[in-house]
């Protein structure tokens, strides 16, 4: 009870103090909130880049890299893209709970029943059916396709909004680059940050795809490869890749425990050995399974420019704290008469200290709230300067909390030395 009324009293005193020197306190709040806001905006970007996109099973999903390059020339390291033959070997194994091999493509899409000829540029994931359960893709309507060679597709939320204004479009027929494919599923809004299933070629922060199409169908239709491909032979398009040394498919497998992982590693190594036995595997056998976080780490997707700027904004926050500290010192100095008076009529040093801390905590809370606004503003500004970061600029609740906490801590920290000085003035000297 007493402490509650003390708090109320301290808050009243703080408000009085703010009123007495409004411009000074305004500057303190402003500098602290700019400093915290800027740092928070950067941390939000770093957080988006470094977060785990699928925490529920990131440790059970593995990216497959293999070392099957057919000559000993350029590719000495295991390669993140595979030939069709390796991909099929992976898909046909029953060790993984789920597996997916895919490549990225793109088509123009329109509702085949619509009178309008307007077509939408759509990114395509040409994949085996295991993709949906492997990635936990969230379905709004319908489900995934079951076979790899049917004229069926699953579409994403945004494309469904654009073409069918968001209604249940299962059963409708899309015209994709002149071919008719039936929609069997529509996804809910689906954000993966980073886009772990395709983190290479600078795509880690792309949005999820517009269209998910069966792999064999896409190959048969000749939908071109939109990501990295590499080959030792020339070929006339994706239709001709099945039996050639064209590397373009990425593979992911879901292995629930380390025994399964070992079994699958053994399965891959065995396959490579069988190639070696017939002289088709000139390089050393190195098949690598990396889980989601290890894979993302290896891809080095955290933007170095943002890290550099974060570093600078940490320094800036230091400067802001120093600034607030010297401002508060001058404030407490000019308030020493008042402090002396309160001490003389019976307030203890502890009371004075508590009062000072209450004041700076209040400052911190105000600065914290302002910094939320500013960090939102700085995020918008960063996107303007670095447009590639657009899909990353989100302030998650935990960052908002961090911002307020940071402001609180820096405000109290800034006030520490001024307070220490403030409580050391002798009563008599100040009241002389």
């Amino acid at each position: 009870m007493r402490s509650a009324s003390m708090l109320a009293y301290n808050l009243t005193l703080a408000m009085q103090s703010f009123k007495r020197a409004p411009s000074l306190y305004f500057l303190v709040v402003l500098t602290l909130s700019i400093g915290v806001g800027l740092l928070c905006a950067n941390l939000a970007l770093v957080n988006s880049m470094a977060s785990d996109p699928i925490p529920e099973k990131s440790e059970q999903l593995f990216h497959v890299s293999m070392n099957t390059w057919p000559n000993d020339d350029p590719q000495a390291e295991p390669f993140h893209i595979l030939r069709y033959r390796e991909a099929m070997k992976i898909v046909s194994s029953d060790i993984p709970k789920n597996s997916a091999v895919f490549y990225a493509s793109g088509v123009y899409a329109r509702d085949s029943a619509s009178p309008s000829l307007k077509r939408f540029d759509s990114s395509v994931r040409a994949t085996t059916p295991g993709f949906f359960s492997l990635t936990n893709a969230p379905f709004a309507y319908g489900s995934g396709f079951i076979k790899s060679s049917v004229m069926e597709v699953v579409i994403g939320h945004e494309l469904n909004q654009k073409i069918f204004t968001g209604e249940n479009s299962v059963g409708k027929v899309l015209e994709l680059d002149g071919e008719l494919l039936t929609i069997v599923g529509v996804l809910k809004p689906w954000r993966l940050r980073p886009l772990f299933y395709h983190a290479t070629e600078g795509r880690a922060f792309n949005l999820t795809d517009d269209i998910y199409a069966p792999l064999e169908t896409s190959i048969d239709l000749g939908w071109s490869i939109h990501a990295r491909s590499s080959s030792t032979v020339s070929y006339k398009g994706v239709k001709f890749t099945r039996d050639r040394d064209v590397f373009y498919l990425q593979a992911w497998v879901e292995l629930e425990n380390s025994a399964k992982k070992q079994a699958f590693q053994y399965y891959l190594d065995n396959y490579s050995q069988s190639l070696k036995d017939v002289g088709e595997h000139p390089l050393a056998i190195r098949n690598e399974l990396r889980d989601v976080n290890a894979w993302l780490l290896e891809q080095n997707i955290v933007d170095q420019k943002v890290l550099a700027f974060t570093l600078a904004s940490v320094l800036f926050l230091c400067v802001c704290v120093f600034n607030a500290s010297s401002l508060l010192l001058s404030r407490f100095h000019s308030a020493k008469f008042e402090v002396g008076l309160r001490r003389a009529i019976g307030a203890s040093n502890k009371n004075i200290l508590m009062q000072g801390i209450t004041e700076s905590a209040l400052l911190g809370v105000i600065a914290g709230l302002l910094s939320l606004l500013l960090s939102w503003l700085f995020l918008k500004l960063s996107i303007k300067f670095l447009p590639d970061l657009e899909n990353l600029a989100v302030l998650e609740p935990k960052l908002l909390l961090l911002g307020v906490l940071l402001a609180l801590v820096t405000a109290i920290f800034s006030a520490l030395y001024p307070l220490y000085r403030g409580t050391r003035y002798t009563i008599s000297a100040e009241l002389k």
Partner: protein
């Protein structure tokens, strides 16, 4: 004047009285200077990168990136006929010198690459790793005019270099000067055969991939774009000087008038393309400059608060000095000198900070080492900003009347 010099000792003593605030201000100044210097380095680095010559007619090249949206284009003969129609219609626009088509643009990282070596000497690739990633551009025969290539040996591609689509014959190719040097040194390359075809011409280097060294701009061109028409994404238009805006306004309509089922992603000049390549560098450099602005602002507030605080504590002594005969300008100079002393110490420490920050930043991004000129420049900025910020308190101080002395003794 003498007043200030005589009292340097007094100044230091008075600074020491305020160890904490002085220390804070000095640290602030040092950090600000460190950031200023490195931001300036970033800005200059970016500027230097962007001003490197591209070897192209930057201002007069207009590029259209487009892709068909209709399934009819799966018939490649149809596709080709539309492209030919596009090219001839674009060529007829007033102000257009030349039009061509290509699969990829210069001034880009990676892209379509191929390993390249003299047909009899595959070992070359082991000695020069850049030969493994030679930029492989499919061109039409007018690309040289459209881009403004300079031919230094042989000729550019012509109609006769375009083989029948099912022909297995060897292609004729044109290569860049640096690739010629990489393959054949100072010998002539005309008529020599590589794994990618027979060389018929050499062009002066252009900036193919800015991330590679100047002398490793390896690239080759062959007249096969019509064969692989489905990857012909870019129309390259050479425009007469002064006609750019005019032509630019018409290209989209011209193309869509030929056949409307096309997506035109973008219409841009080569200089915009160059700018766009460095967009992130520019963005980062701008962000750093913004931060510098904020930092100077905060530091100026601190300098102001520092002098203000100082007055409130020193009123009495300054009053005494005034009573003892110090003139107003002496006091002004005294206050300013005191601040300048702080700035000098701050800047000296800032030199260390600038170096340290440079090392720290270069873990993440590439930037040049700081030089003395920049450091001096940044110090000047600090001095000017600081002096401006302390001017009002300093004037106020000098206005303290001598009578204060009698009141407070």
């Amino acid at each position: 004047m003498n007043f200030a010099t005589l009292n340097i000792k007094g100044l230091i003593k008075s600074l020491l009285l305020r160890k904490f605030t002085t220390g804070l201000l000095i640290l602030q100044l040092a950090i600000t200077l460190g950031l200023l210097v490195n931001s300036a380095i970033l800005a200059f680095d970016t500027r230097e990168k962007m001003s490197k010559p591209t070897g192209l007619d930057d201002e007069n090249i207009l590029i259209v990136s487009t892709h068909p949206t209709s399934g009819s284009y799966r018939d490649l003969d149809y596709y080709r006929s539309i492209v030919n129609e596009d090219l001839s219609k674009l060529n007829q626009l007033p102000g257009v010198n030349s039009v061509s088509i290509t699969n990829q643009l210069p001034i880009r990282g990676r892209g379509m690459l191929s390993n390249t070596h003299d047909i009899d000497n595959p070992e070359q690739e082991k000695a020069d790793k850049y030969l493994k990633d030679v930029k492989y551009t499919l061109a039409g025969e007018h690309l040289a005019e459209a881009m403004g290539f300079t031919i230094i040996e042989g000729r550019f591609l012509n109609k006769s270099d375009e083989l029948d689509f099912d022909s297995e014959a060897k292609n004729n190719i044109v290569i860049t000067e640096s690739l010629k040097k990489g393959l054949y040194g100072d010998e002539s390359a005309i008529g020599r055969e590589t794994n990618n075809g027979i060389i018929v011409g050499v062009i002066k280097d252009i900036m193919l991939d800015p991330t590679l060294p100047r002398d490793k701009q390896y690239g080759l061109f062959m007249n096969t774009i019509m064969k692989y028409i489905f990857i012909g994404r870019f129309y390259v238009i050479n425009v007469e000087p002064g006609q750019m805006a005019n032509v630019r306004n018409q290209v989209s309509d011209t193309i869509l008038a030929v056949q409307a089922e096309r997506d035109i992603f973008d219409v841009f000049t080569m200089s915009e393309h160059l700018k766009n390549f460095y967009r992130d560098d520019q963005g980062l450099s701008d962000l750093f400059l913004l931060l510098c602005g904020l930092m100077i602002f905060v530091t100026a507030i601190s300098s102001y608060a520092y002098s203000q605080f100082h007055i409130s504590r020193q009123k009495k002594y300054i009053g005494i000095r005034r009573a003892l005969g110090a003139r107003k300008q002496d006091i002004l100079l005294y206050v300013l000198t005191e601040n300048w002393l702080v700035y000098t110490i701050g800047c000296a420490l800032g030199l260390v900070m600038a170096l340290g920050f440079n090392i720290l930043l270069s873990q993440y991004i590439s930037l040049s080492k700081p030089d003395m000129m920049l450091f001096l420049l940044a110090s000047a900025v600090i001095f000017v900003a600081g002096t401006l910020a302390t001017w009002i308190p300093a004037v106020k101080t000098s206005n303290i009347p001598p009578v204060i002395a009698t009141r407070t003794v």
